[in-house]
Symmetry: C2
Subunit: 104 residues, 2 copies
């Protein structure tokens, strides 16, 4: 048991990844960002599907196959098929951005 909005470190030099549930072919993670972004020129290109929701904070996500980035607000979710290349362009600074990501 736990709370998704608790246990937030005061300092976050790197994004924080925590596995909440796992079984064969499934992994659920909480991710906490604070001003972090995918390094310039890099893309996520994943072997599994990812369903992801932003629960607190704000972010800008970009897909390689879309001209415009997407701004995400709390509650916004996306279902990203395996190998659809994407990157996090921006996350809010000065407050934690909390994601829940299901790799399936």
């Amino acid at each position: 048991m736990g709370n998704l909005f608790a246990d937030l470190p005061g300092q976050l030099p790197q994004e924080l990844f925590e596995v909440l549930a796992q079984s064969a072919g499934t992994r659920l993670e909480r991710i906490v960002s604070s001003g972090h972004a995918t390094p310039p020129g890099e893309w996520y290109d994943q072997d599994t599907n990812e369903w992801v929701v932003l629960l607190r904070g704000a972010a800008v996500l970009r897909f390689e196959d879309e001209p415009q980035p997407r701004r995400l607000a709390p509650g916004d979710w996306l279902d990203i098929p395996a190998h659809r290349r994407h990157r996090v362009e921006w996350t809010a600074q000065g407050e934690p951005t909390i994601w829940l990501a299901l790799h399936y």
Copy 2:
């Protein structure tokens, strides 16, 4: 794409279940309750594990093997092993209670 806190019906005669992501052995659902509870004397007894989080509203969950029920606030999550019998004793009235449940 969607938003977990949007598309909430004004009237909810029954709990609302929506599948958000699914693959072999994995099902992710949004559940919206509004004063609903598990019928008296009934227990959930599931063949799969369930990771569940309450995101909005409030609820009281009870496990058959625990003397005290648990009150859930936004962000509270539990990982419920298959066949651990549980029931929802109460959900808030007059506001939607929004859950995300992963059956895995």
